[in-house]
């Protein structure tokens, strides 16, 4: 629909005002992380007069941010790989196996969309201790994989159900096993749906603070979110450092978002739009 003049004006005013409200804090965050403390207070909104990397240096050297990044990357990559692999296998069975068992399991998985895993934290703490994984980042991986199952089975099962059935029949007649159909036909076709699931879980896992807070204390196992919370407490009076730490945590996802905005939006709303 095309808009008439006054409507167009109203649209631009409302959306511009909100855009300023969104962009202004992010601008303040990034621009001030390059300024010395004094200038942050004197001129909080302008570009830096004297450009400094002190904050970043401190975060990198004192705060071991390099380590936190590597830890978070390892956890996110392994958890995502497992979610996509075992989630897509399950989804294939849920979509193609006609039986009351698969119907029940489908509902069982989907119920997890509405029930936050955090409510089971106390028991998970005991389980992680029993597995001797406390204080390591390995403790996070099985929890994130379990947490990713509802959305993975939901999105991927719906996707497989929409693939043309003749394709599967033809492959079966040619003597292909279920595993061959899954790995050679379904997986390659599923790429867009896998991307949606990957992005949804990547943002959740990368930004998760709750489970690192509960499971991990040791410095060498910290993730970015946990590192941010501890460093921010330390640097409360040193604003250059505090803002540098926050920028370091925010920028990787923000930059990825700017490159892949459409996929990110699709990914993050995956659970809802289809439902």
């Amino acid at each position: 629909m095309r808009l008439k003049k006054p409507q167009l004006l109203f649209t631009y005013i409302v959306l511009s005002v909100w855009s300023v409200i969104v962009l202004f804090p992010i601008w303040t965050l990034v621009v001030n992380s390059f300024k010395p403390q004094k200038q942050i207070f004197k001129d909080p909104f302008g570009l830096p007069d004297t450009f400094t990397l002190d904050g970043y240096r401190a975060a990198w050297n004192n705060g071991r941010f390099d380590l936190y990044f590597v830890n978070t990357l390892i956890v996110t990559a392994i958890a995502l790989g497992l979610i996509l692999f075992i989630g897509s296998m399950a989804a294939y069975a849920l979509a193609k196996w006609k039986s009351p068992v698969s119907n029940f399991l489908y509902i069982f998985f989907i119920a997890g969309l509405m029930i936050p895993i955090r409510l089971g934290t106390l028991d998970l703490v005991r389980l992680i201790k029993a597995l001797n994984l406390q204080d390591t980042y390995w403790s996070l991986i099985p929890v994130y994989v379990a947490m990713g199952m509802p959305i993975a089975t939901f999105v991927l099962t719906a996707f497989i159900k929409e693939l043309p059935g003749e394709m599967f029949e033809a492959a079966k007649i040619d003597g292909a096993s279920e595993w061959q159909i899954y790995s050679r036909i379904v997986l390659p076709l599923m790429r867009p749906a896998l991307a949606t699931v990957a992005i949804f879980n990547m943002i959740k896992i990368w930004n998760d603070f709750w489970f690192p807070l509960v499971f991990i204390r040791a410095e060498e196992s910290r993730t970015v979110a946990l590192g941010v919370s501890l460093l921010f407490g330390q640097y409360r009076t040193d604003w250059t450092r505090a803002l540098a730490v926050l920028s370091l945590a925010a920028l990787p996802m923000l930059i990825l978002y700017m490159l892949l905005a459409r996929e990110f939006i699709k990914g993050l709303t995956a659970g809802a739009v289809k439902g």
């Binding site: 409507q7 631009y12 969104v22 202004f24 909080p44 296998m89 029930i115 028991d123």
Partner: protein
Amino acid sequence: MTRAQEMFSVKNRQTITWILFLLPAVAMYLVFMAGPLFDSLRLSLYQGEGYNPTTFVGLQNYRDLFTNPLWREKFFNAFANTCIFFAIHMLVQNTLGLLFANLLSSEFRGRNFFRTVIFAPATLSVLVTGFLWTLILNPNWGAVNKTLIAMGLREFALPWLGRENLALPVISLTSVWQWVGMPTVMFLAGLMGISDELLEAARIDGASEWNIFWKIKFPLLKPVIGVVSILTFVDNFNAFDVIYAMAGAKGEPAYSTDLLATLFYRTGIAGEHPVGIPNMGMGAAIATMTFAILMTGVLFWLYISRKQATE
């Protein structure tokens, strides 16, 4: 082998294949999600120090939670705060989302840019958002207060996070800032599904945009409004990070921003002053109550949406 036996064994083998496909996912989900959730219910019937509450006490934890004035006050304070937190999201976040979506559903230059910007904060960590706004709202530096003073509104330059009646709404609005992109995109998807001819016909009949919104778009959006509401509800009754970042685990000032999740964290995981030892049984009771509240909400939503679908 007879033909029937052969068919049976083929079918059996097929079933085993499917079970193997499902096994890893079911095992992970069962052991690390469903199991702990249900075991937390059991844990709420026990008392004891540290990580292994072993004394079975029946419903004593719940009795304490609802009758011991100390616990009752904490629980109902956190419950009321969580309700306010949720109400502000429903009122501000979802109304703004509906407004933005309605504006974004028409064609104009820059539409994708605005959509991208509105959604951007949703990719930030909640913790980063919380810390960032703590700095911006800080009374000493206070980009917000500085701006207000520059505009000649000195009397509005308040200690935003320091006042009991102000902190919770301000933190809720920070969270709205972060998440408003979600309802916007969902409503936008819903609006795109409404046929253009229908809207054109109404316009030709001389209906105003205001009337078109309320008489045509809004009723057709009802299912999406339901989904958005229930997702907001589940997320809000589970919110923790933003309070931890902006008001600490105790929900400062004076527990005025304490939510169910922060109370759960202090009771069951961190351990509260002056004891400092986690009370897992009571923590599990709080988690179970939160679970019950969530289930009530979700079942209510299912009931309403079923009823609307059959009408």
